[in-house]
Amino acid sequence: MCSYIVEKAALSGSAKGRGWMKIDTAHVYYDHPFHAPLDHALGIDFINAANGGRERVAIEISAESARELVRAILSALESGEQEHTAAQAASPTIAVAG
């Protein structure tokens, strides 16, 4: 069905399509895709709303792929943050003489 339901997420970062651009918002929806050969797809449009939102970096993926992506994002965050926390703890500290 054609829905106009869009979840919006505030972001801080960059995305690369034709070139790199700053992004501040993701529009997330589940509806007919434009390109992917699926009846419905999870679409994400990464945009810079503060700059008018004209340009976007977009994906259209299956529902199963979307859930796998969510799992991978959470897993990467968890393991990555653990690694970086451990690395920070192991790095030598510089004592400053008083």
Binding site: M1, C2, H27, Y29, D31, H32, F34, R54
Partner: protein, 258 residues
């Protein structure tokens, strides 16, 4: 096979509130007068498929005009424009009706127009078609392909862009209506299709509904798993038989009687 030729191009036109709009116009180049058909796109927007539909009509002897209903969301590739239209809630009904009426006038003004005008729409465009057939004067035949929200059961589905349920205007339907539906569709559901039919019967309207087993939403769309070749082929035949009757044969009868 007889000589075939058609022309397809983007054309400017003045839409609702005189907005500078654009449409894809496909028309046969073969001799003779032809009817016009306004082709109303679905939510994914003014995409390649909808231009193919317009050319299909031209191939069958119709001048077909498909307006870009998301034109007010700025320039760009149709998918990028649709991506901007979606979070904004899509096109307002008033804009769509104004744009469709303007396309009808454009088609009537073509030098080889036979004076008859049809409207066809898909998905959200099916809903727009039902609304146009009930509220716009001058439509000779209309085809609603799986238009969702003709009946609105959940008030949360109303929005500023779509503030009415077209079913409420059924008494004003002034042209023959063809409906094409898949029985596996959820929007419109088979129950909603049945209730729409009951309303058409209650008002004594000229209509024909065709329901297809094993088909769901958008079963014409060959680029998706929803495509059902047998059902789509049969339904396209019914569309062309319907338009031929009311847009071509009817015009020929009127010319002969004149």
């Amino acid at each position: 096979m007889s000589y075939q030729a058609l022309h397809g191009e983007t054309v400017p036109f003045r839409g609702h509130n005189d907005y500078q709009s654009e449409a894809y116009l496909a028309r046969p180049l073969t001799p003779g007068r032809v009817p016009g058909v306004v082709v109303i796109h679905h939510m994914p927007g003014w995409d390649e498929w909808i231009t193919e539909v317009a050319r299909k009509f031209a191939h069958h002897g119709y001048a077909a005009m498909a307006p870009n209903l998301f034109v007010r969301h700025g320039p760009g590739d149709p998918d990028d424009v649709a991506a901007r239209a979606r979070p904004a809630g899509g096109a307002y009904d008033a804009e769509v009706m104004g744009d469709v009426a303007a396309c009808m006038a454009h088609l009537r003004a073509l030098p080889n127009a036979n004076g008859k005008i049809g409207v066809i729409g898909f998905c959200s465009g099916g809903r727009h078609t039902y609304l146009a057939a009930c509220t716009l004067p001058g439509i000779d035949a209309a085809v609603d392909c799986w238009g969702g929200r003709v009946i609105v059961d959940d008030p949360k589905e109303f929005s500023p862009q779509r503030a009415v349920a077209p079913i409420q205007f059924t008494s004003q339907l002034a042209c023959p209506l063809l409906g094409i539906f898949g029985n596996d569709d959820k929007n419109p559901s088979p129950d909603q299709v049945n209730r729409t039919e009951q309303e058409l019967q209650r008002h004594g309207k000229n209509y024909a509904f065709h329901r297809y087993d094993g088909a769901g939403h958008s079963f014409f769309d060959y680029g998706r798993p929803a495509f059902r070749p047998e059902q789509a082929a049969d339904a396209w035949q019914k569309v062309f038989a319907f338009f031929n009757k009311y847009l071509i044969a009817a015009a020929a009868e009127q010319s002969a009687a004149a």
